[in-house]
Every structure is written in C-alpha cells, then in structure tokens.
Symmetry: C2
Subunit: 153 residues, 2 copies
DNA sequence: CGAGTGAGTTGGATTTCCGAACCCACTAAG
DNA sequence: CTTAGTGGGTTCGGAAATCCAACTCACTCG
C-alpha cells in the first residue's frame, strides 16, 4: 500500500530534506554564499553541492546572483522563502544544544536584537503560550488519516 | 571535504536528517507507534524503517515497549527527547503550509488548548518578540568560523 | 611565463534505497 | 487439523544516490 500520509512536513522535507540542503540554507543565511565557502562549510562534495544548489534555486529558496563578469562568478542568496526556513534551523539548533551538547557548550550563540542571547521558543500566535505536545489536538483534513483523535502522549 | 562548520544544526541532522526519520517522529507523536502503521504512513520501505527505528532507539528518541507477549510485539514510543523535536516538525509544517500549499489547503490542522487553530511562531524567550532574520547576530564559539560578523541579509 | 583561484564537470567505487518475496510466531475460521 | 491472515521483521538483487579525486575552464596576479 503506497500512499503515505499527506502532510506539509513530508512535502517540505521532500524539498529540503536531502543531505546538505538545510546546511546550505544555514550557510547562505549566515552570509557564506559562494560555491567554495559552501563546499567547505557544509562538507558537501562539489558535485552534490551543484545538484542541491540547482534544486534550491529551482524551488525558489535561493537565487543566483552574478558578482563578477570576467570570470563569470555567481553567488547564491537566500530568497524570502529561503529565509523563512530560519525558524526550522533555529529549532534544530536549539534541540542539538539541549540534547547533544553535553556540558552546555554550544558551538554557536545567537544574539537577539533585544540584547539577550537568543533562546528560541515556539508559541501559539493566538494566545502567546508556549506550545506543549500535550496541548495539541489534530484534525486531519483528509479522511482516513485520523490515528487516535487527540494527539497521543 | 575535511572540517565542516561545527554546529548543532549539523549534528542534529546527522541524527534525524536521514530520509523518513522525522516522518517517523511525526507518526509516533501522532500516536501511530507500530511497525506496520509506520511503514504505511511514512511510505518507508520496511528494511529502511527497521534501521531507522534502531538508530532512533539507540539515540534515545524512541523507546521500544512490549505490548504483547505471545506473539512478542513491540511498539515505538517517543521519549521526552523525541517529543522535544516537535517544534522542528511544527515549523516544517508551517513552512510547507505557507509556501507549498497553493489555494490555502492544509492536509492537517492543529488546535491549541487555548481553543484556536495553532499558528506556531518562534519568539525570543527573553523579550517575547518574534524572531526575524534581521534581528540576529551570531557569535561562533569556535575560532575561525566567523563569516561576516552580523548575520547577513 | 607559472602559480593560484573560483566554479564547476567527469569517472568510477561505494553506499543507500527500493520493492518484492520470504520467514516466523501466533490467532481465528472452517 | 488445515488453511488463511496478521504483525514484525529479514533477505534478496537491482536502481539510484553519494563520495572523492582528478580534471577542465576562465580568468588574475606576480
């Protein structure tokens, strides 16, 4: 039986879930937009990097911008859609900081404009409360994909 | 290549960035904890599913729990660490909803305990403001990994 | 001229993925 | 008892993706 659950998570991952794609987005968001920087900083083999970049440009997450004529050289800048993946990267980083970096050492610290170290948190836009797994219910819009009604714990 | 940027994002992805891993986490978070459900709902081939599950159990994101002696049957429940990836899943879903679902159709809608449809948002824990890419500065803790000082736009 | 750089491309070995088939332990039906 | 079905995997061989090194091309710099 061949129809996985229809889901925006799955579709987003189909786009940016391949190896290195999110690391590329991380790099361009940090300002490393050139081929060699991307190859070095992500660790991606150059041929893989080429195909990832093409994919991300086609999907509208990056745009190729010429920064030199002779020789012709391009850099890869994040679009609005690309930058909109920032929250995903933040939460991945946050999870790694909490669960992987023993001793509390974090290889990178972000500072928010308010002057404090950024500790990102997901909240409900409506009530501003932090979102807990236990406080969620799901309503699949596609029939046949209910699992247990309320999100199980 | 040799030494990619040390980063919690990369390390987290090394753990859960393989194909299907995050979909498995999605499913167990929704309450679909058994092998066949996972195979159906994620679309993962059974052998791939087996290796993913082993990996996630070893990493402490899932735990194997017996739910029947005869025959011996196990289900895979998310641990606290596993559930802590929820925010990542939420932001992936949110991005897909905004950028992939033309016509505004969403295959799944989550409801928050406050009574409203959940629209997840990442905020700074300190000041409560929504985090924008433009309002971040990064301080790499590991020498040699500065790119442009302030996060570029 | 020769060395170096940035941005890829090419070729071949290795690894991973996939689908289908198979196995095992049981349960339920005839 | 025999047969069918189910849940949870394992085992195949082939297809696809990945990796790495080496190579190209178009310049620039000393």
């Amino acid at each position: 039986m061949k129809d996985p659950r229809p889901c925006s998570i799955a579709e987003t991952l189909a786009l940016v879930g391949e190896k290195y794609s999110l690391l590329i987005l991380r790099e361009v968001s940090l300002g490393a937009t050139r081929f060699d920087q991307l190859a070095r900083n992500t660790g991606a083999p150059r041929d893989v990097l080429t195909t990832r970049l093409k994919r991300l440009v086609d999907a509208g997450l990056l745009e190729k911008a010429e920064y030199s004529d002779r020789p012709r050289r391009y850099e890869y800048r994040p679009t609005r859609a690309g930058l909109d993946l920032g929250p995903v990267l933040l939460m991945l980083m946050s999870w790694g900081d909490r669960h992987l970096q023993e001793g509390g050492f974090r290889p990178m610290v972000l500072e928010h404009a308010c002057g404090h170290e950024l500790v990102p948190q997901v909240v409900c836009r409506e009530c501003g409360e932090r979102v807990e797994h236990e406080s969620l219910t799901h309503h699949p819009q596609v029939p046949g994909w209910t699992v247990t009604g309320p999100v199980a714990g």
